[in-house]
Symmetry: C2
Subunit: 202 residues, 2 copies
DNA sequence: TGCAAAACTTGATCCATGTCAAGTACTGAT
DNA sequence: ATCAGTACTTGACATGGATCAAGTTTTGCA
């Protein structure tokens, strides 16, 4: 388990197609997971926050399948796969833990897919904010006052919307008094309303 | 590794919320993975074909998180988790294999999510058919002549569309000479066209 | 074999969101 | 502090797919 040198915004941590030599744990900052489509567009799979893992999909083929690049200065640890396999040999607890983490990632991905299939634009944006809030809270950060490290365009590409629609959704939440928005700084005034709309109680 | 008694269509193999006591491998038939939303609707996560695994998301919390029920008479094997853990203790190859399978499921789920976010209705239906075709071929079945075991409504709920839209998409593929459709029997005449449309070369 | 129910197709209309276009507000460099 | 470039907001309009509503085909049961 090595501490990696901090990455500056825009710098890539892993590239699609590279052999999977390690897993990464983000310690500070945030990152964007995405892949590049045939047309040259970006398909944003999600955002990585402190405490979260990068690289799990690599187990599929031994190569990473998406790019992960820093949105804010990114501190991380590197866990070489060789080392991990040695530890898995000896530690049943770690075996269960890694299965749990993979299961969790899978479950989350499926849940998100369902979200996309069922909700409308406002619902998706609400869900995005509620989810972010929840994950920040889990790390002891404020669930109601936070800074978006990603652009509206990134959010849009993540949710299958256009950046205009994301902007308008935020606009309506602001007007309804659910949020305060100033550029990328968000204050959540009605977490309940967002969570409800985000989980399909539209 | 036990062989399970064949299930009749409509019968449920695993239920959301049940403790995860085993993984299942489908041997014959097909099944639908779904969860029930707050409004009572079905959110279809996907379909399970022979050779594929059921229950992996259970590693997240030790409980299954979605329902899996048979669409056609379903033959399967049951792999108790206790037994699996014992084997993982001794077999490094199996450890890698289970990680590979989880990674694959994760990668697939993410790729599908991207599909949903980027394509329009025809693209999604084309992708669905191309994917099904591919998975059938992998099991040695015909990639061009097959029977859909799921209803249009199931396909729609899987793709985030309405059943009318799915029906219309199939209609246009038929008119353009890409498919022959007779109820649930499909003949693919232009696999190339479907695959292209399905992978965003719209 | 025939009948009823379910599944599917097709058509007409409406609306949410995409698209195009301007204008405004940040941000970072000099 | 100013300026240029980028990010974001807002508006007007177009459109793909949802919705509503018949019809038609298929399926399973008597």
């Amino acid at each position: 388990m090595q501490r990696g040198r901090q990455l500056r915004p825009g710098v890539t941590l892993v590239r699609a197609g590279e052999p999977m030599a390690a897993l990464f744990v983000v310690r500070s900052g945030s990152a964007k997971r995405y892949s590049v489509t045939l047309g040259g567009g970006e398909q944003v799979h999600g955002f990585v926050l402190p405490g979260e893992l990068v690289g799990l999909e690599g187990f599929a083929s031994g190569r990473y399948t998406c790019e992960v690049s820093a949105l804010e200065p990114l501190g991380y640890c590197r866990v070489p796969i060789r080392k991990l396999e040695q530890l898995l040999e000896r530690l049943p607890g770690l075996r269960r833990e890694i299965l749990r983490l993979l299961g969790q990632a899978l479950d989350e991905s499926q849940r998100l897919r369902g979200e996309l299939a069922l909700s409308d634009a406002r619902g998706r944006v609400a869900h995005f904010l509620a989810d972010l809030s929840h994950r920040l809270a889990r790390r002891g950060l404020s669930p109601t006052e936070f800074h978006l490290s990603m652009s509206r365009a990134d959010i849009a590409r993540h949710l299958g919307l256009t950046l205009e629609t994301v902007s308008r959704a935020l606009g309506t939440f602001k007007r309804e008094g659910w949020l305060r928005v100033r550029a990328r700084d968000i204050s959540v005034l009605r977490p309940d309303a967002l969570a409800a709309l985000g989980s399909g109680i539209a």
